[in-house]
């Protein structure tokens, strides 16, 4: 650590700088070489992001119809924005959207606050001990989503899971799959897997705060709590905005949790429970790819809008 700073401090004056006297052409080639490293990324981006968006957009402008008994060929006709008009008036789709939005409004702040508090607590520990906590808390995030949900389905199980007898011992009769608790159960899985990631991001930016500020704050008589609230939290604001935006995007697109919960509580979690479930259902059960594409675009627009508004509202410089 020390030696490298010393070396870096020395180098500008000591070594001759060959870059300065090369021609503009060579510099351009150098830049191109650097840029070439992004080629695989842009190829992937084009193939897996741009192309599907273009295909989705074009699909959403058409309508496919069968005829007779439905076994002959299907005809696809240009229908303009009909699918979008239908989507904007689809009560089930917007019902799903509001359902998830309501969940997001409750769950996301709770998860963010829990992540922030945990990161602040870890920051109070020494570096070595913090490392151990960080790894432990990150483990849930490393478990693939579907696996995590299957684990939790077992844990929640009223027949064989360990939680039901535990709650019964406390005199509580909790059915994690009941209509009233289903979102709590889903939110708990989400928190379990997201908090570790949030802690990592927030803790990372906590580490970058110059320690001298804390020293001077302490000299001024500030308590740890006061330092956390007045210095640390404002400093990690951008990280919090980032994790929140990621949470908003992830939550509005929630799919695998309710999909697997559907078999546990099918009377609550219906086929159109969340927007993404409805899109999936339209595409692969109903077989209406055109309408599914239009709904996907509407969902993307809503997610984009909500994220942008949130970003705009929160990412102002502290006054």
């Amino acid at each position: 650590m020390n030696t490298s700073t010393v070396l870096r401090a020395k180098s500008p004056s000591a070594a001759p700088i060959p870059v300065r006297n090369t021609s503009a052409q060579a510099r351009r080639r150098k830049a191109l070489q650097g840029a070439s490293f992004t080629v695989p990324y842009f190829l992937g981006f084009t193939l897996f992001i741009v192309v599907p968006i273009v295909v989705g957009l074009s699909k959403s402008l058409y309508t496919t119809k069968s005829s007779g008994l439905g076994f002959g060929g299907r005809t696809t006709t240009f229908s303009g924005l009909d699918n979008f008009a239908r989507g904007l008036h689809d009560g089930q789709f917007w019902g799903a959207m509001w359902r998830v939005a309501l969940f997001a409004v409750v769950a996301i702040p709770l998860i963010q606050i829990a992540g922030l508090v945990a990161a602040l607590l870890i920051d109070e520990l020494g570096r070595r001990r913090a490392g151990r906590f960080r790894v432990a808390l990150l483990i849930p995030h490393m478990i693939p989503g579907i696996v995590a949900i299957l684990i939790w389905i077992y844990i929640y199980s009223p027949s064989v899971g360990p939680l039901t007898p535990l709650f019964r011992m406390l005199g509580l009769d909790a059915d994690f799959y009941s209509g009233g608790l289903i979102w709590v159960s889903i939110g708990n899985i989400m928190a379990w897997s997201a908090i570790g990631f949030n802690i990592l991001v927030v803790y990372g930016s906590l580490q970058s705060i110059p320690r001298e500020i804390f020293d001077s704050a302490r000299v001024d008589g500030a308590s740890s709590l006061r330092i956390a609230w007045s210095i640390k939290v404002p400093y990690v604001r951008t990280s919090l905005v980032l994790t929140t935006v990621l949470s908003i995007i992830g939550t509005l697109q929630i799919f695998s949790d309710p999909l697997l919960f559907r078999s546990m509580a099918p009377q609550t979690v219906n086929r159109n429970f969340t927007p993404t479930m409805m899109i999936y259902d339209q595409a692969f059960a109903v077989g209406d790819l055109n309408y599914a594409s239009a709904l996907s675009i509407i969902l993307a627009a809503v997610v984009g809008l909500v994220s942008a508004v949130f970003y705009k509202l929160t990412n102002r410089a502290p006054s």
Binding site: L69, S157, G287
Partner: protein
């Protein structure tokens, strides 16, 4: 340094180009001479030895088996292959209902290829019905596995309850068991198959063809008759609602003796044999309960298909291979699975008797094991298939699942379920531009 950088740049570009050309390419491996290769997609566990046997006994056709992960992956893979029009397999394990898959444009018309085998290979009439749409064949018949019931005889005896012969008996047994905290049956909230089976057993179907239009019959007398049975089971509070997704919980529940009658089939027995701990040996195979007014003994036997997708280049060879896989003695013999000691159920042929013994597990039925073979053979003989589904059944089934979940939790009645499904199905067909007969 610069030279090396240049090579890197070239390398990166080459890799990029190679990736994009590979994505566009995709070879056609049909050869002009030698045996015809038929590609076969399946996820069933005992497919390898059957394919090996086929390849060892055939010279002009070879099956190339491509193991699939599961049902949904196969469905997605096939949809993509057919849409792309290349690398289309010629045989695919069934993942849906033939009419729905046909409406999706996934299936080839096999009428010409299959007809020569119809009289000669012993396909049962019910098995053939499963691949027939509007008088044409789409797929190789695989038939159905026999439906019967198994009951926890120890619990039945403990409370002195007679073995049910009719659905009314099942309900009566349920009422007697209820005070003891025992449920007579399980109706999983996500699985409306009990209702579907009951409609089939009553001789009904939700779709039928009338001229050039579909007649939708969710409110037919057969359908209402079936709904009345499940309504009674639910209203009396004598059934459980354990899900199939939480497998350990389900098996534990069955095993504890708290749920005592299970409509079942041959392919499920090995699973119960392996997982039941407490109740192993207590179960008894019995005939599927009938409607009280039934004149003949029937079991629902809706047949499935080995799919031959549209775009397969070797329809005749695919059909020949498919017929062999489902009817040849050698094929069924080769399907032996050592883990369960059972052969794949030969659902397409009239006489499965040489293989029946193998599907009956050693311990599940205890001293009543000898009763299993006659029960299974009786169920096979009594199989009927009045069932036909329409082109939109995949989506309709999803809606049915939602409605079923509401009905088994008493949020709606089964009458309301059927009324909703009638409206939903008619509206959905019409929205797709498909003709619906006014009823």
């Amino acid at each position: 340094m610069n030279g090396r950088g240049g090579r890197w740049l070239a390398g990166a570009l080459t890799v990029g180009i190679a990736i994009s050309t590979a994505a566009c390419g995709g070879g056609d491996d049909s050869r002009s001479s030698g045996p015809v290769e038929v590609e076969y997609w399946a996820w069933a566990p005992n497919t390898d030895p059957v394919v090996a046997k086929f390849n060892a006994t055939h010279t002009t056709i070879k099956i190339k088996f491509v193991k699939q992960a599961d049902n949904p992956t196969t469905a997605t893979g096939l949809r993509n292959a057919v849409a792309a029009g290349q690398n289309v397999p010629c045989l695919v394990q069934n993942f849906g209902e033939v009419p729905s898959l046909l409406a999706e444009g996934l299936l080839a018309d096999l009428t010409g290829q299959l007809t020569p085998y119809v009289g000669t290979k012993g396909f049962t009439a019910t098995a053939l019905k499963g691949v027939t749409v509007d008088g044409k064949y789409y797929g190789v018949p695989t038939g159905a596995s026999p439906n019967f019931m198994m009951i926890n005889r120890k619990v039945y005896d403990q409370y002195g309850i007679a073995i049910p012969k009719t659905w009314d008996d099942v309900i009566a047994a349920g009422l007697e068991l209820k005070p003891h905290g025992v449920q007579v049956m399980n109706l999983a909230g996500e699985d409306p198959s009990t209702l579907v089976s009951l409609v089939q057993q009553a001789g009904g179907t939700w779709y039928s063809v009338e001229g050039n239009a579909w007649k939708v019959g969710f409110l037919s007398p057969e359908s209402l008759k079936a709904a009345a049975v499940v309504q009674k089971l639910v209203d009396d509070g004598i059934v459980a609602n354990q899900t199939y997704t939480d497998r350990p919980a389900l098996i534990a529940y069955f095993d504890q003796g708290r749920m005592v009658s299970l409509p079942t089939s041959t392919w499920q027995l090995a699973n119960y044999e392996t997982n039941f701990k407490k109740s192993i040996g207590d179960w008894e195979p019995i005939d599927l309960p009938q409607y009280a007014d039934a004149s003949t003994f029937v079991t629902p036997a809706h047949g499935g298909a080995l799919l031959v997708p549209k775009g397969c280049k070797h329809l005749a060879e695919a059909t020949e291979a498919g017929v062999w896989l489902n009817t040849a003695k050698e094929a069924i013999d080769a399907s032996y699975l050592p883990a369960t000691g059972a052969y794949a159920w030969p659902g397409a042929i009239a006489d499965p008797s040489p293989w029946v013994e193998s599907v009956v597990p050693k311990n599940l039925f205890g001293s009543r094991r000898p009763e299993a073979v006659p029960v299974i053979l009786k169920a096979t003989k009594a199989g009927v298939d009045p069932w036909l589904v329409g082109p939109n059944y995949t989506g309709v089934f999803k809606e049915l699942q939602d409605q079923w979940a509401l009905a088994v939790t008493k949020k709606i009645t089964f009458q309301q379920l059927l009324e909703h499904m009638q409206t939903y199905t008619v509206d959905d067909l019409k929205a797709k531009g498909i003709n619906v007969a006014s009823s």
